[in-house]
Amino acid sequence: MQLPVAILASIETSLNAWLALDGETLDKFADMQGKVICLHISGLELDLYFLPDKQNIAVMGNYAGEPDTTITGSPMALIRLGVAKNSGKTLLDSDASIAGDTHLGAEFSRILSEVDIDWEELLSKLVGDVVAHQAGQVTSTGFEWLQESLEAIKLNTSEYISEEVKLTPAEAEINHYLDQVDELRMGVDRLEARINHYILQQSKKDQDNEK
């Protein structure tokens, strides 16, 4: 499957806008200049090629050569890899895999999962530096406190709910569940193919009988 160029363009624009928000991320890609990273999404059989340099990342749907590294995974596995705090651990836990230059692949996904958006900077583009700085000063103290409190509440609550009263599953269980969903989806795909094959054979037999 190949994505239309309009979608590829929109992925490239969004990705670069997102990276540009975090002033330091693109510098981290400087060493990857000239490298081609392929993201193969299994199930959809979709390939995306990333060509990073320190200014932006080019996204392509086609590359005739051999990519330096290929990150393969189901959509679920790749989403988990993208948002994971510890991408190395997640990679081992999930069914995602890296072929070719594994260091390059792991580094690429690690940088992407670490992107930290600077909201003050984003706001400054809209209302100008001064107002944004003042707004940032006023809100950052309150925001930090609020964020810390929320994080603490979230952690305590999630631990209480998952570990103490076992109302929700723990992270490992979620990962296991997601793997099972992937497996089931692939199983259904195989079953569908088998049924289609059977129907085709049956209709051929019926046609032969009619003759």
Binding site: V5, A6, G34, V36, D53, Q55, G65
Partner: protein
């Protein structure tokens, strides 16, 4: 080579007929005039869609690390910039244009983008390319062929410089194939386009020429036939935006 000048042959320059030897200088005049505003105008004229047409061309190019690519009539270097990243330090991209102002703009733009090392700039006429035989893996000419005086000669010249197995990609305005689109497109090209040209670049005439030259350019099948005639093999074309633009591809085998 026949001496066309002495025969007083004429060719089209938009809708007007001019002596063959004058077309190149007249086209040069248009592009000297629009060079500084070319990028803005392209975005305005196509509502940004020209980026998608070019992206599609890159996607279909099959370019890879180490390739040698010629971007003819490369103008402000849109395609060359993308190819430069794909071919990497082992490859080489030649950005070429017959027009010095356009080439100068392209060069400055690429340098400003930090692109250097694997890009060369050559001012050249597509009809007599100053490159060795069997040299390039890919030659692209985007929105340039219609301005070339002798297109057949240019196609033969490109074929000579391509390596066996190499590919020519011609991205050019063509003939709309969607019913009803022609009328809207005509209104747009001959009324709105010169107006935008006048407001943005203060140059309605140049943009009127662009609209007229698009209409005078061979349609999809004719261009495909010209490529076959020049010696290209497995020629195909793909219509985009209802045939307003077509991408022709041919191979040297």
């Amino acid at each position: 080579m026949s001496n066309k000048t002495s025969e007083k042959q004429s060719t089209h320059f938009g809708y007007t007929q001019v002596p063959v030897e004058e077309k190149a200088s007249k086209v040069a005049g248009v592009f000297h005039s629009v060079a500084d505003k070319y990028d803005v105008m392209n975005d305005l004229m196509s509502a940004g869609v020209h980026r998608l047409w070019k992206r599609y061309t890159i996607d279909k190019s099959g370019a890879k690390r180490g390739d040698t690519i010629l971007d003819l009539a490369g103008g402000t270097g849109d395609l060359a910039a993308k190819f430069s990243r794909i071919v990497g330090s082992e490859g080489n991209v030649v950005l070429s244009d017959i027009n010095g102002s356009m080439l100068e703009n392209g060069r400055s733009r690429l340098i400003d983008m930090g692109i250097a090392g694997n890009v060369e700039y050559v001012q050249a006429n597509a009809e007599c390319l100053p490159f060795p035989d069997n040299h390039f893996n890919i030659v692209t000419i985007a929105f340039g062929l219609r301005n070339v005086t002798d297109k057949d000669k240019a196609l033969r010249s490109i074929l000579r410089t391509l390596k066996p197995g190499g590919k020519l990609m011609v991205l050019e305005f063509s003939k709309p194939v969607v019913p009803g689109l022609n009328t809207i497109y005509d209104q747009y090209s001959f009324k709105l386009l010169p107006l935008i040209g006048k407001i943005v670049a203060n140059d309605a005439d140049s943009y009127r020429y662009l609209a007229e030259s698009i209409r005078m350019h061979p349609d999809q099948e004719t261009l495909k036939g010209m490529m076959d005639e020049a010696g290209f093999e497995r020629t195909t074309y793909h219509n985009m935006t209802g045939g307003i633009v077509a991408l022709h591809i041919g191979y040297k085998l």
